[in-house]
């Protein structure tokens, strides 16, 4: 199901078309994004009863069954921020979430490296071969086709790229610790949840949604190999996680 974005302003829409160009083409099973203008819109003129709305000063975002509608957004980075908030809302009922994490593809499987700012996500990305990094900042993880998969996102940190509208089954997720040696450490379910929670992008204060998120993360931790990765600033870590 494409993520349908209505962006009335021509200037912002053109910037968005460039920024999300890899995602506006319907990738097979990826995260397709459709950008629409007023002229293309089939939505009713006023969205009075949105499923979700976010208003900040003179900027607003409305979400309903037609898609998402942005008004007053002047900068592509603001659109990026709103899109992240939107995705957290859309993904949850589809068994998905956004995570501060770099994702690298190796032998057709996704390796997800998570941690707060400074943990080493961009370092891991920089140590990976060109073309294998799906994102160095925010990963989209979702249960589809019977397994957890990592999807490309247009959200990047130090590596500025268009992203890849592709998805791969997750081989494992690793919480990053920069160290003098390369080794992996097993984590209990609770330790992994403790490591994941601060890295999950989530913006709603609704209790039910937070309960759903916890339930989703528990399912994720139960189905995906989770470890803490102690790593040096070189690519030797692959030897311990791909072993």
């Amino acid at each position: 199901m494409p993520l349908s974005l209505l962006i009335p302003g021509t200037d912002l829409r053109e910037k968005a078309l460039s920024r999300y160009r890899e995602f506006t083409a319907h990738g097979e099973g990826g995260l397709p994004v459709v950008l629409r203008s007023d002229a293309q819109s089939v939505r009713r003129p006023e969205c009075k009863d949105p499923n979700f709305s976010y208003v900040l000063d003179d900027t607003s975002m409305l979400l309903d069954s037609f898609g998402a509608e942005f008004h007053g957004v002047r900068h592509e980075y603001a659109l990026d921020s709103l899109l992240r908030i939107l995705l957290t809302m859309v993904l949850l009922p589809q068994r998905g979430f956004l995570l501060h994490a770099a994702t690298v593809v190796r032998d057709g499987r996704a390796y997800v490296f998570t941690g707060r700012s400074g943990a080493g996500k961009s370092t891991v990305a920089s140590l990976s071969p060109a073309g294998t990094v799906m994102t160095d900042e925010i990963s989209l993880l979702r249960f589809t086709d019977g397994c957890w998969q990592a999807y490309g996102t247009p959200f990047w940190g130090e590596f500025r790229a268009a992203g890849q509208n592709e998805h791969y089954p997750i081989a494992g997720i690793y919480t990053l610790v920069q160290s003098a040696e390369d080794r992996v450490e097993s984590l209990t379910t609770k330790e992994m949840i403790r490591a994941l929670l601060p890295c999950v992008l989530f913006f709603t204060s609704k209790v039910e949604a937070n309960e759903d998120l916890l339930r989703l993360l528990l399912g994720f931790v139960g189905q995906v190999p989770c470890e803490r990765l102690h790593f040096r600033r070189d690519d030797g870590f692959w030897k311990v996680i791909a072993a």
Partner: protein
């Protein structure tokens, strides 16, 4: 003292490996309880009294009831002070 402690309904939680992990959605704060505090948390449904909870603790940890009740009271006060527990019945009785 919460006579009939109840979990704060504004909190999201799950029990993981016998211990409660609680999220406060309003400030994204995460609370992690140890096994004993988790026992109180899961028992605090607004229907069971402090005495009921102390009974469960005494049986589970094989300690004298007065000791279990003292521990239960201390933990309930601590959890209440953190806003994790509320006591609607006590509040209703006080307001009656």
């Amino acid at each position: 003292m919460n006579l009939f402690p109840e979990r704060n309904p504004k909190l999201a939680w799950r029990e993981i490996d016998g211990e409660a992990v609680i999220i406060s959605p309003e400030d994204s704060h995460v609370h992690e309880l140890n096994e004993t505090a988790s026992l109180i948390w899961t028992s605090a449904d607004g229907r069971h009294s402090v005495d009921d909870i102390a009974d469960v603790m005494a049986a589970k940890y094989d300690v004298p009831l007065p000791v279990a009740k003292a521990d239960a009271c201390e933990l309930i006060e601590m959890l209440s002070a953190k806003g994790l527990l509320v006591s609607p019945k006590a509040e209703a009785q006080a307001g009656a």
